[in-house]
Symmetry: C2
Subunit: 419 residues, 2 copies
Amino acid sequence: MTITATTPQERMHAARTASRSLGLLTDAAKADLLRSIAAAIEANIAPIVAANAEDLARGRADGLSTGLLDRLTLDDQRVRALAAAVRDVAELPDPVGRVLDERVLPNGLHLQKVSVPFGVIGSIYEARPNVTVDIAALALRSGNAVVLRGGSAAQSSNAALISVMRGALAEAGVDPEAIQTVDDFGRDGARALMRARGLVDVLVPRGSAQLIETVVTESSVPVIETGAGVVHIVLDESAPLEWATDIAVNAKVQRPSVCNAVETLLVHRGAAERLVPPVVAALQAQGVTVHGDDATAALAADVVPATEADWATEHMSLDISVRVVDDLDEALAHIRRYSTQHTESIITADDAAAERFLAEVDAAVVMVNASTRFTDGGEFGFGAEVGISTQKLHARGPMGLPELTTTKWLARGAGQIRS
Amino acid sequence: MTITATTPQERMHAARTASRSLGLLTDAAKADLLRSIAAAIEANIAPIVAANAEDLARGRADGLSTGLLDRLTLDDQRVRALAAAVRDVAELPDPVGRVLDERVLPNGLHLQKVSVPFGVIGSIYEARPNVTVDIAALALRSGNAVVLRGGSAAQSSNAALISVMRGALAEAGVDPEAIQTVDDFGRDGARALMRARGLVDVLVPRGSAQLIETVVTESSVPVIETGAGVVHIVLDESAPLEWATDIAVNAKVQRPSVCNAVETLLVHRGAAERLVPPVVAALQAQGVTVHGDDATAALAADVVPATEADWATEHMSLDISVRVVDDLDEALAHIRRYSTQHTESIITADDAAAERFLAEVDAAVVMVNASTRFTDGGEFGFGAEVGISTQKLHARGPMGLPELTTTKWLARGAGQIRS
């Protein structure tokens, strides 16, 4: 479905107009719409893969890394997986129309606070074409129109996917302007999107810390920040060795490149001799490079000296920083200083220490005796994840479909006036 | 209680440190703290009124209007009213510690989503010293520290009130740095507050549309916008005359200077002959100047011609704009174009029209057969009002204490790792 609007502003206006009818669709209509999109994607695998081949050829010519090329690649199987993910979102409960508060005033005025779509959601993200389909599906399922700005390296793939999705909307009798892209305007498109206060209701950046920082700083549209995770695990004095080892290894090794992977272990001095040697050895056995302070290096072999920069680094690799702290106070102070308020966990057999940690740590998710890898919309049972918010306004932690709605008060009266 | 920190940044750092212990106070401790503040205000009426006299003298010398001088004035009775308002906030239920979601994952990991204080709340507002006490009380009751920037015309009054409140904190054994002002840094103070992302968690501007626009545009701290109200009432074809008259008069006349007062009446053409003459006459009998379109002027006497600017104006005075529209579609289109998404109401006897209006109008509060003056935290039964949010992120409509909290997920496990 071709886009005819010729400026970013025209496209965002068109998205806003489309959002009005979208917001009135029933649960069944929205679910059907997503199933139509999934079917259209499956019916267009060849042109989508062909468009992706253009991006890959350009990427290779531009010298993109193997990792980036892999994230950019769409083959038959990956396109089918995209369609399947859209079908999964179709099955989720409608986040719109929930009655969140209800009260009758003494004068009989009946109030209801109900969930409604935002209207238009914007997203700025990097060269992963799956995000294009992912965000569009989540936005439509929650009754929102969407304006997309993907990475230029994925421009052909995104154009193909957006064209297929817009075609599916038109075929289903829904205004295709509900899915917009500003990819073809380059940086101007991103800028226009960040300044579209009044046209776009919320902007969700997804990607590197630098991308998110730019959006947070430059956008006048309200932003939901999905931030970096400098994630800590505290091994308390009473930490059981098996939990400490299993959780540290799981949180670091299972998928090191994601935001809920652990970056720093803080070990209570009273347990350092007992815990540091086996935990470090278990990590090293999985190929992890351990960056340790002097106390850690004194207790284990092959420890790289940790630098000040290490404590603030989201490695996103098989690297971990390890520090021995005097007590829980020092662990909490370290976390206050370096945490990005994503996820923090303590391993302990001491209930008082556990409850103190839960109460005092300021983060989206605070855990006791569990792997930080559980901070995830899928794991939390949300069925889909829009991202993991590290800000305090509107949404904090894993965001599901309900976080893509706002509220509206409905007041039904019979002539009430204020005295 | 004297402030010793010498830069805005130092004061905001001190507020953040103080917020940590504040966030751990019990419900009873926070309520007691507010009662101590109320008592301290009552014990210091003379110095507060004396400080206010300095502001008033400067204000008169600077030629402030009578209205502004009145809003600036604190006398014995008004100071007592401030203390009474603090005691009312003390009686409200604690918004912290509510369990908003709870789930146990298949692996036994127990999750709770609980309400927690933001941490540090900033507020930028105009020369009304009552706001100083009001915001500080609401912030403390919800476990937050506060950084205040009031209008320079109220600087002496604010300094006196803040000193008294900080003294009450110190006496109660609470870190007095929990209440901060950046008033004495002039515009630099406001600028520092708007750029304190990471130190200040949320900024609530209160005052004129221009003040709010400046904060929204310049702040990198997340803002809750409390905006202007270009509020409409639609008199539908079936609107009962008595309701139409009573509600239009109440919504315009009861308190014309506030954001929930009506600014524009949209009258269905099919009811214009029946409704325009008596409704306009009833408004004029209360001293209201009616700015009408041609159709309105043809049906009623003494109608001032409405200009294009009138439709977009928040009069905040005994002025109202009146337009005859062809049908509900045209009324909805007018509202889409000129509404500030604060409050919109329809007067109708037609259930289908009522439900369509409730579903299609995009505003914080949408009403049927009620005065728009009910959009108010007190009227809604919140016990206190932080402001009326006209944005869609985090809070929409009247904000009570719960809107001054964010959430945190607590996860309690027994060694769970992700497979």
